[in-house]
Symmetry: D2
Subunit: 131 residues, 4 copies
């Protein structure tokens, strides 16, 4: 899986002195950056090729100020859509996991498009079992 270690920022916490549940989807979106670049190496927002269809997150343990490692793999590849599997780790504990379904999408005609084979190969290299 892809891995990145990021700082938990103070604004990621809430009044319960732990990380807000709303922060996890931000972290996951951020950590999908390498996958975005498979589709658009220059992150061209004028011709953005992806749209989020759904996501789910399981909060397995509280996360606190400090560092977290986000792990990112692919759990499913369809014709025009695929699913990203991601985890949040802190101090050796898996604190959250989630899946996000993305569609290769044309914003001009509002239609999904097949995933190009060159991109598919890169996604396949990240295949994980999920959970």
């Amino acid at each position: 899986m892809l891995e990145e270690t990021i700082r938990v920022n103070f604004y990621d916490t809430d009044a319960l002195k732990h990380v807000s549940n709303t922060a996890i989807v931000r972290w996951f979106e951020g950590a999908r950056d390498p996958i975005f670049r498979y589709f658009t190496p220059d992150l061209d927002v004028e011709n953005w090729p992806l749209i989020v269809a759904s996501y789910k997150v399981d909060l397995l343990a509280q996360t606190f100020l400090g560092d977290v490692t986000i792990k990112t793999g692919i759990s499913r590849i369809g014709n025009s859509s695929f699913t990203v599997f991601q985890e949040v780790w802190q101090n050796g504990k898996r604190c959250a996991k989630g899946e996000t379904a993305l569609v290769h999408f044309n914003y001009q005609n509002h239609k999904s498009e097949p995933i190009p084979s060159s991109v598919r190969e890169k996604l396949e290299a990240l295949i994980v079992e999920g959970d």
Copy 2:
């Protein structure tokens, strides 16, 4: 279902000129406020009685600047946990739906606790079929 109409704020949008997928969980958390008050009428953060166990969101249509209506009901009530079912509507279209599982939780001893019967009655009054 509970309903509230809120403004889409400019910071809720992203470079695709639509609402960021990360905004939906913020809106849903905000719209759970009346349910938080069933458990803690004064929103007492020193004795907060709930923790989020999981959430999932389906993005059914793009959402844009303007107003949205958030609808909130209860789709499941267990012994110590329950599931909130929520929807985002804009211009007569359902743009997103989601479910969030919350646990009646004691942050001092890190244990779940049964939902009090007086709260259970209020939750039952909001039961919806889900989808």
Copy 3:
């Protein structure tokens, strides 16, 4: 001044159990919505006419979960720019104040443009002394 009362959302708080300093600029941006509409009644993001040049915020007292009232006026009108003066009130106490300088801006040619006289009149109706 324009006034709107909004809910402090749980995600607006941080681990100090008060509102994060980073939330105030979100609230202020949200409350500028009526002023955005003076320039673009339909909030047309394809031809957005404004850019933020600077802002400053003074945090006068801690803000907590509950409701807040955001007051919005105009403290300065120049040829192509103007300054919005805003306050956060909670339980009769002024908790924050701030000023945001905005420029009437053409994103196509990256140049500022004079404020149209019809808009100027509306801004003038909101003139406040500042502090």
Copy 4:
């Protein structure tokens, strides 16, 4: 000055396809992490020693998806308060600068406290001219 390079996340952008003005204060708060640790090496939220008194940000150029470097120094040290000076750089251009005034603060008795001399020495090592 302290420097850190971070990714602009997609959720940092808004419908103008550039970085939202509201993101800058998040980045600046994040980049103050080493300074927080001067006061509380373990980031102890139970005894947090700082409160934000004010901030101001000048947006000098638009910032876009990609990486940014945040530079952080100290522009003023008082008895119990100090001011952090920060900049956002992207592709060799300074896109934003700002100052944040923080107070060494006791949340139990709601009083400011003198900056300890050991901390003062560390802050002095980061003194910059500002602008």
